[in-house]
C-alpha cells in the first residue's frame, strides 16, 4: 500500500524522539562552550616544549638537535641552534634552541616530532582553542609560547608522562654512571701521569665533564 513506508518511518522517528527524553544515548550532543567533554588521555592537538623547573627559559629539555625539524612531514618547525652552549637542567653542557617556532596553522598534529625526539623534549598538548583574528603572527608559536612545564605534561598525559619520566631517569642514571666511570678512569690516568711528572697540577689534566656525550647522531 502506498504511504505505508512513510507511516513506518514516522513511527521509528517518533520512537526516537520520545527516547531522547529518557535515554542519554539518544541525545549525544552537548552545549559546547558551557559544557565540555572530557577528552581521552591520548588526545593530541599541537606540540609543546617541555621544560623542567620553574623557569622556561632555562629549563627547556630541547637541545636543538633539529631531528624534529627534519622529520616533520609538513615542515612546520623552524629551529636555529644556539652559538654557545649552556648548562642544562641535568647539569650537562648543551646547545639550546635560539629560535624554536612552530606554525600551528601548518602543523597537522601527526605526533611524529614527539616520536622521533630522543630527549623527551617535545610532547603533544591538548589545547585546541586557538582561534584568533590575527591572520599571520598569532598562529606562529615561538619558544616562549611553546614552553610548558613537565608538571603540565604529567597532568594531561599521566600514563605517557610516567613512561617518559622513567626513560629519562634511566638515561640520566646511565649517564651519571658513565660520567663517574669516565671521571674515575681519567683521575686514575691523571694520577698515574702525575706520579710520572710530579710538577703538573692535577686540575689542568682533567677534561671538562661529559664532553662528547651531548651531540646526537643525525638520521640520514
Amino acid at each position: 500500500m502506498l504511504g505505508q513506508g512513510i507511516a513506518k518511518g514516522l513511527l521509528q522517528t517518533a520512537r526516537n524522539l520520545v527516547a531522547t527524553y529518557v535515554d542519554k544515548d539518544r541525545l549525544p550532543t552537548i552545549e559546547y562552550p558551557e559544557e565540555r567533554q572530557k577528552l581521552p588521555e591520548a588526545t593530541r592537538q599541537f606540540p609543546f616544549l617541555v621544560h623542567d623547573g620553574d623557569d622556561p627559559s632555562k629549563g627547556l629539555r630541547c637541545v636543538a638537535c633539529q631531528i624534529c625539524e627534519k622529520e616533520c612531514p609538513p615542515k612546520c618547525i623552524y629551529i636555529v641552534k644556539s652559538k654557545d652552549k649552556r648548562v642544562d637542567y641535568k647539569g650537562q653542557t648543551q646547545f639550546y634552541p635560539a629560535v624554536f617556532d612552530i606554525d600551528v596553522s601548518v602543523c597537522m598534529s601527526c605526533q611524529i616530532c614527539v616520536e622521533v625526539c630522543p630527549f623527551e623534549a617535545i610532547k603533544m598538548d591538548t589545547a585546541f582553542e586557538f582561534s584568533t583574528p590575527d591572520r599571520f603572527g598569532a598562529l606562529l608559536l615561538d619558544k616562549h609560547r611553546l614552553a610548558k612545564s613537565a608538571a603540565h605534561y604529567r597532568e594531561i598525559h599521566p600514563a605517557d608522562a610516567a613512561e617518559s619520566d622513567a626513560v629519562m631517569a634511566a638515561e640520566s642514571a646511565k649517564a651519571e654512571a658513565k660520567a663517574k666511570g669516565d671521571a674515575e678512569a681519567k683521575a686514575k690516568a691523571a694520577a698515574a701521569k702525575l706520579a710520572a711528572v710530579p710538577n703538573v697540577s692535577p686540575e689542568a689534566q682533567l677534561p671538562p665533564p661529559n664532553s662528547g656525550s651531548d651531540s646526537p647522531t643525525m638520521p640520514m
Partner: protein, 388 residues
C-alpha cells in the same frame, strides 16, 4: 519530479565533435564542482535529453594535492600521516595498506597482538564507513537529515573509540612499520565490546526505517545496473564489485594479516543495481561485527611493534613491493620502489574510489539526473582519494 541538480549552470549544448548533441534539444549541464550531491569537489558534465542522461563525463582533480610526489620527497615514516588524508573516512585502513607495502619491502614481521589490533581497527573503520555511506546515499535520494544524522550518531561512537586509542578522530596516524604506535589503553577492549554488542540494535532500527521502505526501493531497484563482466573489465573492486555478484574480497583472496583465522561470509548481490550496493554494505556491517566479536575475544597479550623496526634512519633495501588490502571502498594498494635511500624512489597509490568512479557513465546512461546523483552516491567516493 523536480530537477535539483540542473537548476544551476545550465547552458545550451553545442554540437560536439561526434555530433552527439542535436538541434539544441539537448542540454549540457555541469553538475558540480560545488554541488552538494557530488560528495566533495567533483564535477559531472552531463548531456541531457529532457531529464535523461545521454552522456556523462566525470571531471576530477580539483582536490589534487600531489600526494605521490610529496611522498617521494619525504621519509617513509613521513608519508604515514599523509595517507590518513587520502580517504579521510578510513584513515586506519589507509595506514594499514601503506604499512603492509613497506613491511613487504623491508621484510618486517608484525607481532601477533599488533595484527589483532589492525584487524580490530580496520573493521571498526569499515563499520563507520559503511554506516555513514548508507546515510549519505539516503541523503542523495532526498531523505534529508534523519538517516544521515542517525548514521552519524552511530559513527561518533566508533570515532570515540578510535580517538581514545589513537588520539585523533579521523587523522589517526596509528600504524607503524612492523606494528602499531601504541598499545590499547586500559579498558579499551571492554568499551569496544559494548559497542559491538550494541551495534545490531542500531542496524535493526536503521533497516526498519529504511531497507523495506517503498520509496527507497523505487529509487534504487533496477537503477544503475553494473553487469559483472563490465565491472571486472573496468577493474572495479570492493562492495561495488560484490554487488554485481563477483566473489572477490581481498580478505578472502589474499588473506593478508590474520584474516584466515576469522569466520565470516562475503555477501554477494544479484543485480548489481544501487539497491544491491546498499544492501551489500548493510550485510557487510553484520559480518564486520562478527569479525570484531572474534578478534576482541582472541586478542593475545604481547608487544605491539617489531623491535627491529626503526623509526629514524629507516632505509629499506633496494627493491619493489605492492601491498594491498580490502579497504571499505575496495582494493587499496600501495606500490613502492626503493633505491635503498631514505625516501621511496617511486610511490604509487591504487585508489579504489577513482577506479570505481571511472565506470560512472556506463551506469548512468538512460537514467534521469536525479538517479545519476543516487548512482554516484552508491559508488562511495571520497574525493581526497580520487584526486590525491
Amino acid at each position: 519530479m523536480s530537477l535539483p541538480a540542473a537548476a544551476s549552470h545550465a547552458i545550451r549544448a553545442r554540437l560536439d565533435a561526434e555530433g552527439n548533441a542535436s538541434g539544441g534539444d539537448q542540454l549540457e549541464v555541469a553538475m558540480g564542482p560545488q554541488h552538494p550531491s557530488t560528495h566533495g569537489v567533483f564535477r559531472m558534465d552531463v548531456v541531457l535529453d529532457g531529464e535523461t542522461v545521454v552522456k556523462l563525463k566525470p571531471v576530477f582533480g580539483y582536490l589534487h594535492r600531489n600526494h605521490e610526489k610529496i611522498a617521494e620527497g619525504t621519509s617513509y615514516l613521513g608519508s604515514m600521516p599523509y595517507t590518513d588524508r587520502l580517504d579521510y573516512f578510513c584513515s586506519l585502513t589507509n595506514n594499514w595498506a601503506y604499512a603492509l607495502a613497506v613491511e613487504k619491502l623491508a621484510g618486517l614481521a608484525v607481532p601477533e597482538r599488533a595484527e589483532y589490533i589492525r584487524v580490530i581497527t580496520a573493521e571498526l573503520t569499515r563499520l563507520q564507513n559503511h554506516t555513514s555511506v548508507c546515510g549519505f546515499l539516503l541523503q542523495d535520494m532526498g531523505a534529508l537529515g534523519t538517516p544521515l544524522m542517525w548514521a552519524f550518531r552511530q559513527r561518533e561512537k566508533v570515532l570515540d573509540l578510535v580517538e581514545s586509542l589513537t588520539g585523533a578522530r579521523m587523522m589517526c596516524n596509528y600504524m607503524r612499520f612492523g606494528g602499531c604506535r601504541c598499545d590499547l589503553p586500559p579498558g579499551w577492549i571492554a568499551q569496544a565490546r559494548v559497542l559491538v554488542d550494541e551495534y545490531p540494535r542500531f542496524l535493526e532500527e536503521f533497516e526498519a526505517l529504511l531497507s523495506g521502505n517503498e520509496i527507497l526501493m523505487a529509487r534504487t531497484q533496477g537503477v544503475g545496473r553494473l553487469p559483472a563482466a563490465l565491472a571486472v573489465a573496468a577493474g572495479v573492486t570492493g562492495p561495488m564489485l560484490r554487488a554485481s555478484g563477483v566473489d572477490h574480497d581481498l580478505r578472502k583472496v589474499d588473506r593478508y594479516g590474520i584474516y584466515d583465522r576469522f569466520q565470516f561470509r562475503v555477501p554477494l548481490g544479484d543485480h548489481g543495481d544501487v539497491f544491491d550496493r546498499y544492501m551489500i554494505r548493510v550485510l557487510e556491517l553484520r559480518e564486520s561485527l562478527g569479525i570484531l566479536d572474534q578478534a576482541l575475544r582472541d586478542i593475545p597479550p604481547g608487544p605491539v611493534i617489531d623491535p627491529k623496526a626503526k623509526l629514524r634512519g629507516f632505509r629499506p633495501k633496494a627493491g619493489e613491493a605492492y601491498g594491498r588490502i580490502e579497504s571499505p571502498k575496495g582494493e587499496l594498494g600501495f606500490y613502492l620502489v626503493s633505491d635503498g635511500g631514505p625516501n621511496p624512489y617511486r610511490y604509487r597509490v591504487r585508489p579504489p574510489s577513482l577506479i570505481n568512479l571511472t565506470i560512472l557513465e556506463d551506469m548512468c546512461l538512460g537514467h534521469s539526473v536525479a538517479d545519476a546523483v543516487v548512482i554516484l552516491g552508491s559508488v562511495d567516493i571520497v574525493l581526497g582519494e580520487v584526486d590525491r
